[in-house]
Symmetry: C2
């Protein structure tokens, strides 16, 4: 993997990530393909939306269908029919948020599968091996995810474990035939500024191909998220990509790019689509509102996605109200297209040295606040 | 609408139906677009599957979003983004199978909407007016659908009502600016051969652009269905299209084309897709079976649909077992593609004067019996 900065505008960066599965221009948003599929969308939809990279969840694929099945079928790219870039998380976040009966030791974490109740063990070494079986282009070390809020003592203990696991992950990755896989470190540290600084320094000390900022968008105030993001990006090496995990709303993306973030992922565009919410440059639309029942206009006049070229708000609302599956596909397609359009607009503004005015213009037009961020 | 017979082979016919929304080569299968969408498929999927015509349900669209909304938005073609041919049924079948608290008089039928409990009235005149508002290319008169089994007395009384309604529908249709809409008659008559003969004669007497055979595939033995189909097609004028409503399985389609049927509709390919069943020339596959968990082959090697070109049975099974929406789209796309492929194969065999050998070859290879037919 190779990363180069193409242009800077204040703290905002336009970059280019080159991998064996193609080039990713940054800043970029990665649609989330939890079970090896971005919900309701096919690979050709994602390509049409302009996605060069998707995220897949190691935890979910570890449990079903399992890394051995995916390796035997030629790896995750071939399994899910996606020939562009794949980033996998380590499974840490989902073990903490979804698994049952966790037992955490220094060795790793034992948990029970919500799919079939079977018991599994994930260690830093297993997480690397699983991601190698998947064959994703960018992988992550197992980390511990803190609940918010957490005391300083709990945060310190958790950070120590995450850092120890980071070093073991790097060793496991280095000791194997990694086949061009990049390994990103994850900066944890909760909401304590000093611990975030310490986390960043210690993670850089281990040394990674890129740096993820974890443990954000978990319930902390928005301002704290922006401040911590700025603090961490300021501490990270400028020549490596920076990935803010699980973020976020369109306005969060803009504010975080302004603070030096290059990569994002979030279930928001697809999850909210399944709840009938569409993102537009004028703010989100709640399609079930009666005012759309006879609205012959497309979701967003400027959008070139299939949903906006072929169908009216009235029809999309009708599909949604009737529980028709096509609603989920078309609304997901539009939302993902919108998020990727926004990233391209930001990149263009950075290249022109006009990110400040772009940010002001976008936020003023977007205006309406969108609903809560959450992750699968 | 214009219909010409291009070739005959025994009772089987290859025809061409020309409408203002394009040409339909027969025999043809019409995917069912209940709520103005073929479940899980977009218009571009249907076009890719080679569908020149779809069916939409008057009953469902009458209740939601209502004919006035659809007319105001430019008609059903524009509403659902489908510029090819649309056939609508009269709503009769669904009033009998889905509506609550029906009250039937000679005037029409009053029923309560399962959507919101509101009361509605459908008469032959209203059914024609609704279908004119939708702007479908081929419309149908309101008919009474018998439960199976029914006594001869009940069948006779029901047939008399259907025939009276047929005449009123024709008058309503003739008295309006029909704008090129074709009106098909529906031959009812239950399972009594003499009543079916009488129904055919009386419906022909009223005079329609084509003839549907109704009240089949409602639970009667398979042999009775084939015999009655043969009896009715033998009584119908040879220069008009014949449409066997709600049928059927791939082997039913072949056996009915052999008996002179030109058009079919059924929810089978889409409904069974949502239950994980895929149709192939070697018989149906039940994808949840464990044997497919590591099967790297496509659903059907010969099929050119997107599902078969890009994905393995193992991946499609994984999507289905994970409840992923993409499973429903891909399996529906394959099944509809298979049904339309089968129709084209039959047409080619008729044109070559080789329908008999084709039928024998297909049925012998298809072999495995498929599950029960049902309708939305």
């Amino acid at each position: 993997m190779n990363f180069t900065i193409v242009a800077r505008d204040g703290a905002a960066r336009a970059g280019r990530l080159t991998t064996t599965h193609g080039v990713v221009d940054t800043p970029i948003f990665m649609p989330v393909g939890t079970h090896g599929t971005v919900k309701a969308l096919a690979p050709d939809d994602l390509a049409a939306a302009g996605a060069p990279i998707v995220l897949a969840n190691t935890y979910h694929l570890f449990l079903r269908p399992g890394p051995d099945v995916i390796r035997a079928l030629g790896g995750l790219h071939r399994f899910m029919g996606w020939d562009r870039v794949i980033l996998t998380d380590s499974g840490g976040f989902q073990v903490w948020s979804l698994a049952k009966l966790r037992k955490i030791t220094e060795a790793g974490v034992e948990f029970r599968s919500p799919v079939d109740g079977s018991t599994h063990f994930l260690s830093p070494e297993v997480a690397v091996a699983v991601q190698q079986a998947l064959g994703s282009d960018i992988i992550h070390p197992l980390d511990e995810c803190l609940a918010y809020p957490a005391t300083r003592e709990v945060t310190e203990r958790s950070l120590a474990l995450t850092l120890q696991w980071a070093a073991r992950s790097k060793a496991a990755h280095a000791g194997s035939a990694a086949g061009g896989q990049a390994l990103f470190g994850i900066v944890q540290g909760g909401t304590d500024e000093e611990l975030r600084r310490r986390a960043a320094a210690a993670t850089i000390e281990v040394g990674f191909d890129g740096y993820a900022i974890g443990g954000m968008a978990v319930g902390e105030p928005k301002e704290a998220m922006y401040d911590l993001t700025e603090l961490v990006t300021g501490a990270l090496p400028s020549d490596r990509p920076r990935y803010l995990m699980g973020v976020g709303k369109p306005d969060d993306l803009v504010r975080s790019v302004a603070r030096g973030v290059d990569m994002f992922d979030c279930v928001l565009p697809t999850r909210n689509a399944r709840n009938g919410q569409c993102f537009t440059a004028d703010g989100p639309l709640t399609l079930k509102q009666a005012r759309f029942a006879t609205d012959g206009a497309p979701l967003e006049a400027e959008c070139r996605c299939y949903a906006c070229r072929g169908f009216s708000r009235a029809y999309l609302r009708h599909l949604f109200m009737s529980g028709e599956l096509l609603a989920y596909r078309l609304l997901s397609l539009h939302n993902v297209t919108f998020f990727l359009w926004l990233m391209r607009e930001m990149r263009a503004a950075i290249l022109e040295g006009a990110f400040g005015p772009f940010q002001a213009r976008f936020l003023s037009r977007y205006a309406v606040s969108s609903p809560e961020v959450s992750r699968d």
